[in-house]
Symmetry: C2
Subunit: 208 residues, 2 copies
């Protein structure tokens, strides 16, 4: 689907059919997700995909009991690496080989990444992982799969429940499933959006 | 362009032609951006779009002198509201009217949003604004306009230089311009991406 139509017709949805979302269908979406840009091309993301009833129940408990977690066919927990060193050697070497940066610069960056405090990188990893999560939502809708991004969960519970290593930060959950076109939610009028003129300022900020 | 092709062919680019990026062309991109999802549909974003040479010079100083800031035809500074109350009344009222939530729930949320500490909401606004920034990059490429997301700038300098109100947080810059197809950068081999099998785990995390 053309991006314009895709964006106009996509909507966050909690009401899904019971149709199975296969592993293959899910893996196909990630062929688009993997092309997402990230800071220094560090790709600091991991995707924990939960389809089992028991797994979704555990996630629902982490998400203050929100019903659409278990209603979804699958829930993807987007986790961000807090250490920029995770894939740095591989991606910087690639950038040196292809002429994007000098060996000296790559070595400097690698050294910097290896000596950072993990907690200083939360905002950094949230940015890159949210770009990837956005690709996931758009790729889903391009394949007829509805989604809803969720930030309303307790990251500590997710870490404990799913043995998340210390260097990974739970960024977002994305629920996935085929849209229930007979649902009340689907048939509600679309939500209000701000006008472009209200959001965009040229050269300086002015608030009316 | 279909999303799959759009994602595959898009690449972050610093090399732009001198062709003007008109205000109309830029405003057209935001017709797609405005459809982006956000937490509670609060749409906590403002876009400061800089096209003037003097404005880009000031932004370049905020971005540690990075040349592609002034090489770009336009730079969009994505700013996020730290107070969730900014558009809460408008959007919650809309959700009550259309049946998405009860009046009681909307009132509770509004009360909560009005009594929060701004600094607790950084991660929250970074998420919603990064979704919008991703829409901007994809909409640009769908219109033949290249872009590069940039987190490498000093947010305090941006705040001082452009009189950013205290309740707004600089999240990202996005450089925009028509791609210079004769540039060395454009003709370099594409950067490495992680394999899907390496990024996606089912049911539990396992790292090989």
């Amino acid at each position: 689907m053309d991006l314009g139509e895709l964006a106009r017709t996509r909507r966050s949805l909690h009401s899904y059919t019971d149709d199975e979302l296969t592993k293959d269908a899910i893996m196909g979406l990630f062929e688009t997700v993997r092309t997402a840009p990230s800071s220094f091309n560090l790709q600091p993301w991991e995707f924990l995909t939960v389809r089992s009833e028991s797994g979704k129940e555990r996630l629902k408990d982490c998400a203050y009991g929100q019903q659409h977690v278990t209603d979804a066919s699958a829930v993807v927990v987007v986790l961000g690496h807090l250490n920029r060193s995770s894939f740095a050697e591989r991606t910087l070497e690639d950038q040196v080989e292809k002429g994007y940066r000098s060996r000296e610069n790559a070595d400097e960056l690698l050294d910097m990444f290896e000596h950072e405090e993990l907690q200083d990188n939360v905002e950094w990893t949230v940015q890159s992982c949210t770009i990837a999560a956005t690709y996931l939502m758009l790729a889903a809708w391009n394949n007829g799969i509805a989604s809803c991004p969720m930030a309303g969960f307790d990251p500590r519970s997710v870490e404990n429940e799913f043995d998340v290593p210390e260097n990974l930060h739970p960024v977002l959950m994305v629920t996935l499933g085929y849209p229930d076109l007979s649902s009340r939610e689907w048939n509600r009028e679309r939500k209000w959006r701000r006008d472009v003129e209200d959001m965009v300022n040229f050269e300086e900020l002015s608030f009316s």
